[in-house]
Symmetry: C2
């Protein structure tokens, strides 16, 4: 009998009604003849409420104690979910991350899983029980202290457990039906993607699509664990995240056109800002000094563009994007540098957005960038910056033009369905 | 350097302000040169709220899962308290019952402590840290599942840890100043008792004085661990619960009068009901059948009185008291028995109260019962039932007369202070 790992997020178990609905869903899977292991996040806003409580007593709580506090959230949700399943007449047992054998390093707040020893989970399912495991948490191998994996860590818990248990699939439930060719809120013709590769999912996630967390997809890719992204509010098939060969096989099976395979989706991101350092002397070490200063300030840079220096002045401009939340810190770090580097000025712009096309077929298909840029041009969208990877082309545009850019790219690569897809959203408004 | 174990109840840490106040108090003790180990209950009404949540998803949640759920309460309070202490510049580390080495049997919801192996606590305090331990919880020796000790279990956790750590004292903090000669809410002249024996404390608690939980006092008595009952809202000395020899020594030191030593306090209890089975045939086995039926229904009987049978009828009446909450169940069990035993009728009365005088010196002092009953008579209080132990005399009276009975007994044995004691209560209104 195969094992299915199912992960339910906080919005799916936000209240007693949600817990009961999820419990019924889990029982249905069990009745279909599967061994079921469930990973659950804290109910609704519990984690935020616990953080608020911590801040009431201490402006900077110790990370060890914050982890101890936050793990109370999953302890509540897993016990309540287990009760609801038992109430439906099925044996269910809840386990903390530590009890489930989720062994991590000692980095509180962002611990990495270094081993999973799910002996108690295997024992529970071999006795016919449904195992409910707390997401997001583990226990340090060295200190034996309770750790958390950071936000989104429950997805990673689910994949790691699925790998350790040799599960058939890891199902990640949320309040949307799967991964779409674009955000359905701004692209009404967005289609649900039936299959997508790990690599494309990583690029989509990194470029702003709020689907799966990077770490969880990386973990699944490393161990080739299929992820099925689906909604806890419907029984529909969602999106399968699998390795590239399986996606290609599927496309051949369905005799999809080549064009459909080239671009998988359009992602956008409104969380970034752009900084331009104007008039940097084009000498060895100047750019290095700038990026060293930003690295020392722990700034997460995304796109970086350096123009060719003007022959007459020997000066160049360096632009980069970064999370808006880090804008102040970055500007401060650069200001301290003006004497050393001797640039003219620094420009800060948080009225930008990034739009990316992602597709595994892109690298072998010529003219993709051209078609993308032409579609933007036809829609009157001005490109401010460009960057590319093997399977992605990203542009920075003015924020008010993000929607037009997504629509244009979506249409240019034939991603839209003929009819507007009825997207089922849950009640949380997210 | 000696070890002090301090236990703070839920009302002391009901909110962030309470947590900070308690943190300061703990730090003060640490600064006085003690190693400090703290046991904490769940904040305020957390436990009740978690029980409500459980009942929302399941009318009868499995005990294992309920324990998992409820232990989230102390996890929150201990982490937050630890943060507050760290915020005051002192190293504090929180530990679950399991981490603190509280090993129990597998009786979920009412587990018994069978061993305490506080290796991690000893390591923490040897490094100069303050250890914060979750009360009320442990881990089963056999199943490795999380257990709870039942309501009031945090007191027992504190005493058990104090014993295992060979602490100098176990301080139990609440919102009252200590143990009083009577409930100050109905006896304005009640005095705080400076020292009281384990045995007297057990009798006071069993007879309705809401001070310490029986199990915790029994544990302390077995291992001769002094308990200091005091208020978290004041720095005053509270009540020391110690062995009888130490109480006697203290009395001799202070040259107290003999009379003061005879009766320690007056307890009262309004939670009981009285059932009278009228017209029971006075034959071998009739009473046994009644009490077997009640035992099978898990009724906790307290006082039992059987009158001499009337010579003319050969019938007798049997009365007993029991918790009001069990009244319906007991009446149902007795109704089923009428055919077998053949009694006349059963009377149920929940308008009763119990008043008890407790004192270790009682057994060697004649006339105590007489003085007690005379005082009640003089106050116009009618006695419905009487029972006695080595160090206690209890009477059942009509509930509206409980207060008058307490006042009369308190005065008759000279327990009152000359002035009305200024009792300091906390803000919780308990």
């Amino acid at each position: 009998m195969g094992i299915i790992v199912q992960k339910f997020g906080g919005s799916s178990v936000a209240d007693a009604a949600g817990v009961k609905r999820v419990a019924q869903r889990i029982v249905n899977t069990k009745k279909q003849g599967h061994n079921v292991v469930v990973v659950v996040s804290a109910m609704g806003d519990t984690t935020d409420e616990l953080i608020d409580l911590a801040n009431e007593v201490s402006p900077l709580p110790p990370a060890r104690e914050l982890d101890m506090l936050l793990t109370a959230g999953e302890r509540i949700s897993m016990a309540v979910l287990s009760m609801a399943i038992n109430d439906l007449g099925h044996d269910a047992r809840s386990f903390t991350g530590s009890q489930a054998g989720v062994i991590t390093d000692a980095e509180h707040g962002r611990a990495k899983i270094i081993d999973v020893s799910p002996g108690r989970i295997e024992a529970a399912i071999s006795e016919g029980a449904i195992a409910i495991v707390a997401g997001f948490q583990g226990v340090s191998q060295t200190t034996k202290d309770i750790t958390t994996l950071g936000r989104g860590g429950s997805d990673t818990t689910a994949v790691a457990l699925a790998v350790a248990l040799k599960a058939d699939v890891c199902e990640i439930y949320s309040d949307v039906d799967g991964i779409f060719t674009a955000d359905p809120r701004i692209e009404p013709r967005a289609r649900k993607i039936p299959r997508i590769s790990y690599e494309e999912t990583l690029e989509m996630a990194a470029q702003g699509a709020k689907i799966l967390h990077l770490r969880c997809v990386e973990y699944a890719r490393r161990y080739n664990m299929p992820i099925h992204v689906r909604s806890s509010f419907s029984e529909k098939e969602g999106t399968w995240v699998v390795n590239a060969e399986d996606v290609a096989q599927e496309s051949t099976d369905k005799e999809n056109t080549v064009e459909e395979a080239i671009i998988t989706g359009v992602a956008h991101d409104r969380s970034q800002a752009k900084i331009t350092v104007v008039g940097v002397p084009d000498k060895v070490g100047e750019a290095a000094a700038i990026f060293r200063a930003l690295a020392d300030a722990a700034i997460n840079l995304d796109m970086i563009v350096q123009n060719v220096s003007a022959a007459t002045t020997g000066l160049t401009d360096i632009s980069f994007t970064l999370p808006r939340t880090q804008g102040q810190v970055a500007m401060g770090a650069l200001a301290k540098l003006q004497g050393e580097v001797g640039y003219d000025k620094v420009l800060y712009d948080d009225g930008v957005g990034k739009v990316s096309i992602v597709g595994a077929g892109m690298s072998s298909a010529p003219g993709i960038s051209a078609r993308f840029f032409e579609s933007l041009s036809a829609a009157g969208v001005n490109i401010e910056m460009i960057s590319t990877s093997e399977i992605r082309v990203s542009v920075v545009v003015a924020e008010p033009q993000v929607e037009a850019a997504v629509n244009a790219a979506h249409a240019a690569f034939g991603l839209g369905s003929d009819e507007v897809e009825a997207v089922v959203y849950g009640g949380t408004g997210r």
